[in-house]
Amino acid sequence: MVFVDSYPKTSKLVRSEFIVAFVALGIGALFGVVQALHRTGVFRGFVSSADYYTILTGHGVLLALVFTTFFIAGLFAWAVSNSLERELPHRIAWSAFWIMLTGTVLAAVSIIGGLVGAPSILGHDLKADVLFTFYTPLKAHPAFYIGAALIIVGSWIAGLAYFKALWEWRSENPGERIPLQTFMVLTTMLMWYISTIGVAVEVVAFLIPWSLGLIQNVDPLLTRTLFWYFGHPVVYFWLMPAYLVWYTILPKLAGGRLFSDPLARVVFVAFLLLSTPVGFHHQYTDPGIPSGYKFIAMTNTMFLLLPSLLTAFTVVASVEHGARQRGAKGYLSWLRNLPWGKPAFAGCMLAGLMFAAGGFSGMINAGMNINYLIHNTIWVPGHFHLTVGTAFALTAMAISYWLVPQITGKKLQQRTIATLQPYVWFVGMALMSNAMHRAGLAGIPRRTAEPTYDEFAFEGVAGTVGEMRIQIAIGGFLLFVGAAMFLIVMADTLLARRGGTLSVNSNIPEPLSGADHSPRILDNYKLWTAIALLLIVIAYGPPLASMVADGLFAPGSPPIPV
């Protein structure tokens, strides 16, 4: 049975989530290539350098918040429905969708307002050039903050639908282990609930009333600390869905099955425990925070490498097992017996490979003192374009080639373009990211329209500044082409007619070492949530207490319009 025929209601929901995600991807990618050409000086005719920051805000919000959250909502809806073998509670899930969409429209309109002369709406200039991190006291239009809050609230409600599905399933299947895909979804959502508290408090308690003029001042250090309480776990909110794909679908695409169900559960529990009490590693160079708290965050961050290192082993072992099922021999030659011509497989593998490189540059970022060399240089976007920009984004695109036919019943169209697309993305990202990392070592800052100064000139490290610019421009252009290729395939597939038999299905083979081998305590969400909260109290309790001890709004800053 095709998924769309078994679960038509959930399929319609997944399609809607994906369409919003793909539209955001298209606009975000367009903004991306504009930036790549502008900041490298190759072509500055699209926008002025002042409007560059509007484009940059749009790129960050549309890709890191809208594309990710909607795609994940769709993927999770499929995963829960598929593994619990039931339709998702559709009223809750649809209300989540509409709330998130309303938030997206509010945020997008307030950003785009900056490109069309910032008309005054409700007494405030309609613009939001505050970037993805919206550090105070730069102030955006209130609609921007309200939109961001609605996207988060919507994602919380989407999570309720998954839990409700579990409770319904539980009453019919007492005593059974939670299926792996649902386990992964729910663990991710628990992590998400805990970590979004930070940004929700920041936006709802401080930024919305402050931007409306209801309170005079906010404390810039406190608000950015609340942001980063959320700002690191959000990367695991992007990554864990990619892991869900790599653990449960990729081994099947390789022709095999997952190596170990118990270790997959251990990895997800480790993320639930350690994703949040690490946010201070984004604030290593912040004044006003004692270095002891930074040290605690650093150790937690380093231990957070463990689940990813375990994942590297399990995923490679599972894929190798798949290759050997296909008759492969030898230590490395099994790599040849893999379906590199299938875009879903090739995309996931290339995403995983780039994630390994991104992991290594992340280890540098996490290194409290060596971080001085690269903090807020272009090294940092070089790093996260490998993680969220490839490990997540390329996995999402790759698995769409496999999943969209199943939620539509339509065969994948434009197969040649689809087959080439992951490789185009990979080459584009390899060019752009390596040059960004090296430019960061030379001290070139991120988030700037024109990285050249009157007072001095940058000198290249391992290459020249000019050569790095060219690589960033070509790489950025290829990434735009890669996104466009993906969207052409998706548009053609979604608009195609149903017909013929699909070559893919949603059956997930049993792992080599199944759930029966994993201790039941792994499914004890109450225990893990309690430990996660305890770790957060240890890491965040004392510093937050000292920040609010001198008054919630002090030392205060009034809003400064962008």
Partner: protein
């Protein structure tokens, strides 16, 4: 729970790597003495910095000699310049001296980074960032605001001029001398 032998080896190696990272960072902090930016700079009112009435050296930012080979540099970051630092007012310090930068913001969040050195801190309204350093090599170092601070953020840069100590003392004496001369002249005029 069954764990494959290879996986156990991998797990052991991964933990070793993590402990190794933590050890090198701890050594960098304690052994080599790479200190972290922390709360030692204290707090300050951003509005008072903006109005120039903090009652501190930030009202007249610049380089202050605090002892033999000891200098403190007060810098105010504001949209879109460092005072001093930007344009034809570079921060001038002697090579080999112990220099403490005290940086704060008059308006929004900025960054303060001296290119290709460990001097790299956020500048957050209400807080004073304190960073100590020693420049061994004379020369001109780039100064960058590395946090987005508004529409002309990309113009916010500057430089640090590190001069040989003999030259620095001589120039400083000349400046002091000419200031004294000017004052004497002024007094004579009256």
């Amino acid at each position: 729970m069954q764990v494959h032998r290879f996986e156990k080896v991998w797990l052991g190696a991964a933990i070793l790597l993590i402990v190794g990272f933590i050890a090198t960072i701890a050594y960098g902090s304690v052994g080599v003495g790479v200190g972290m930016v922390d709360d030692s700079g204290g707090q300050i009112s951003a509005q008072a910095v903006q109005n120039g009435n903090t009652g501190t050296q930030f009202d007249d930012p610049g380089v202050v000699k605090t002892g033999d080979d000891q200098y403190t540099v007060y810098v105010v970051a504001r949209q879109f310049q460092f005072v001093p630092g930007t344009g034809d007012t570079p921060i001038r310090v002697p090579a080999g001296a112990n220099v403490t930068f005290r940086v704060t913001s008059a308006d929004v969040t900025h960054g303060f980074s001296v290119v290709e050195t460990n001097i790299n801190t956020m500048v957050i309204p209400g807080q004073v960032s304190e960073v100590s350093a020693r420049f061994n090599e004379p020369g001109t170092y780039g100064l960058v605001c590395h946090e987005y601070c508004g529409a002309a953020h990309h113009t916010m840069g500057g430089s640090v001029e590190v001069v040989p100590p003999e030259e620095y003392d001589m120039q400083q004496e000349n400046i002091d001398q000419s200031a004294a001369d000017a004052q004497a002249q002024e007094e004579a005029d009256q």
